[in-house]
């Protein structure tokens, strides 16, 4: 087990191949997983993983009232905590609808988003709507600067990682799965418009008996 691996987990990071490739590789090793759990157990924590191939993270060993209380409070304030990021990734997705699936490891380029917004005034209006919730976002700035502000916000929140500053190229990190979990929670618990028939039904999801794999333990 590498020192940096444990440090990354203890600092609350989602250890994925995009953010910490070496530590991720380390955690894929079963002996490291066991060693990490030996460290985390006395702290009341354990090593957890998103699905069977996703990011590793530190989770409470047992979910108690304290954790329930914390999640309840965070969900109560989800609009402030997650709202800006959800609206930002929805905009990015709309700009690159044909190619982008917002899965871990995908590349996002500010230039492509800027081009899409230039070609569609409705998208610019949506971009400007983020002005109230995104840091360093100023309506007087160029579209590119506003797009950069949105991407930087997502990077600061840990959902993207800047990999090329000159070209403003980012990669989606493993933490995006946490945002998906929040989005699903909102869709299930708020009076959001129901899914259209074109979307997937449960029967399709049960294809060939494959089971959902979110939040599986490492």
């Amino acid at each position: 087990m590498r020192k940096a691996t444990l440090e990354a987990l203890l600092s609350g990071q989602f250890v994925c191949p995009v953010v910490a490739p070496v530590e991720f590789e380390d955690l894929c090793d079963e002996s490291t997983q066991s060693a990490v759990n030996n460290w985390l157990e006395p702290l009341g924590m354990r090593l957890a993983r998103i699905g069977t191939e996703g990011a590793f993270f530190m989770a409470p060993d047992v979910i108690g009232q304290e954790e329930v209380k914390r999640v309840r409070k965070e969900m109560q304030e989800y609009r402030d905590i997650y709202g800006p990021a959800i609206m930002a990734i929805a905009l990015i997705r709309q700009c690159e609808a044909d190619h982008l699936t917002l899965m871990t490891g995908e590349y996002i380029q500010a230039g492509a988003i800027e081009t899409a917004i230039n070609a569609n005034p409705a998208l610019e209006s949506q971009l400007n709507g983020l002005g109230q919730v995104i840091r360093r976002f100023a309506l007087k700035n160029s579209i590119r600067d506003r797009v950069d502000a949105v991407l930087m916000h997502l990077a600061e929140e840990g959902f993207l990682k800047l990999i090329d500053r000159d070209r403003s190229t980012y990669r989606v990190t493993g933490r995006i799965e946490q945002l998906w979990a929040v989005i699903e929670f909102i869709a299930e618990n708020e009076p959001v418009a129901p899914a259209q028939s074109a979307e997937l039904d449960q029967e399709d999801l049960n294809l060939d008996g494959l089971a959902s794999g979110h939040g599986d333990d490492a």
């Binding site: 600092s11 609350g12 954790e67 329930v68 304030e77 917002l102 699903e184 294809l207 060939d208």
Partner: protein
Amino acid sequence: MKAHLSEQVGSMLRVLAQNADLICEGIDGAVLPGDAKRNARIDALVTAGALRSQDQSSFTLNPRLRSFVEDRLGAFQAFRQLTRIDPSIRHVERLWLEMQTLRAERAEEDAQLLETEINVGLADISYDIERNLQVLHANISSEFGNVSSLKAKLRQNAFFLGEVRALTKSIDKLRELADKLLHDALLTGVQSVEVAVRRNVIVHLLSWAQQINDAQNTIAKRLFLAKKLQNRLGTLSRVSLWLRQRQGISSEREFDLDESFNQLLLRPLSFPRLSHVDVKDVEEPVQKALRNIVAELKPREATVEAGSTSPAAQVMAVEAEEPIQDVIEPHEESLLMLLERLSTPGQEVSLLAWKCGDRRLDDTHAEDWLLYAGSQLMGEKIKVSHVISHAQAEGLNEAFVDIVATS
């Protein structure tokens, strides 16, 4: 006959080689006529059967030739159907029955021809299955790279899942045929068919079944993930729209949650770490590290850096650099001398006379001296007496003109 055939094949391959650029064009799309020389080359390819006239003004590549190139390079078009092997299986089955009939009729020559045909048919089936697996592998490994949009990938994934299922059923049929042929060939002593069945089918069956099973699992899993992904993206759009519509409306609601919530909702917190060096640790590596740390420490600066803007610091700096020295004034020096004189018992000194006799007191007024020296001597417990001026004794205050100190 054989030599003639070889010559024809050689001639055909030469035409293909000489016009390879036009064949490459045909792979990408239609081949269009041009100048006379180009048209002559196109005619040569049409004659060789490599190009076919599509309409008056364009030519397309022979589909078999295209298929051969695709097989070789593993570059398959989107929604490329897998080769159906059911007709080939039925054909081989029919040939076998016909051969049995011919043998019963003792038409050995015709039976021999059919036997060869069966061997070729089995080899063809084997080739087609291998090719189908190649098509599947190419599509799966490139994640359906021949289409770009998620929806097209999803449709193609579903399409190939259907194709794989059909292929699985065909292989089951082939297994049944192979078992039957093997059994009958052993009974009737048709060794070449038995060998062909073993070589082309039996030895590959297990591998094919495994590969198809893997492909089916991968495709099904991807289809599941892709559908899940599509569902997710739809949810994202709906939730984002809902949030945008409610921007500016302040409302908080409490959700009814219990311990069974999705753990991803719980943001991982960080554990703060603070470590201290154990200076009592006598281990040599620790001590060495400590010595190194101390050696790297900068010496403490004695004075405040120049340019400091704090007035207090400036004062302190001045005090540190120029300590106040005790400067003895002339009247103090004179007083010290007087005290020394008075230290001898029985002495009586007029302070006015002392001032007149001491040049250090030239700049000091007689009145100031008398007041200063008189109070200082009284402080030293020396007896002083004031000499009153009788000329001014009528006033309210008695004025003195001198002080006499007596030790």
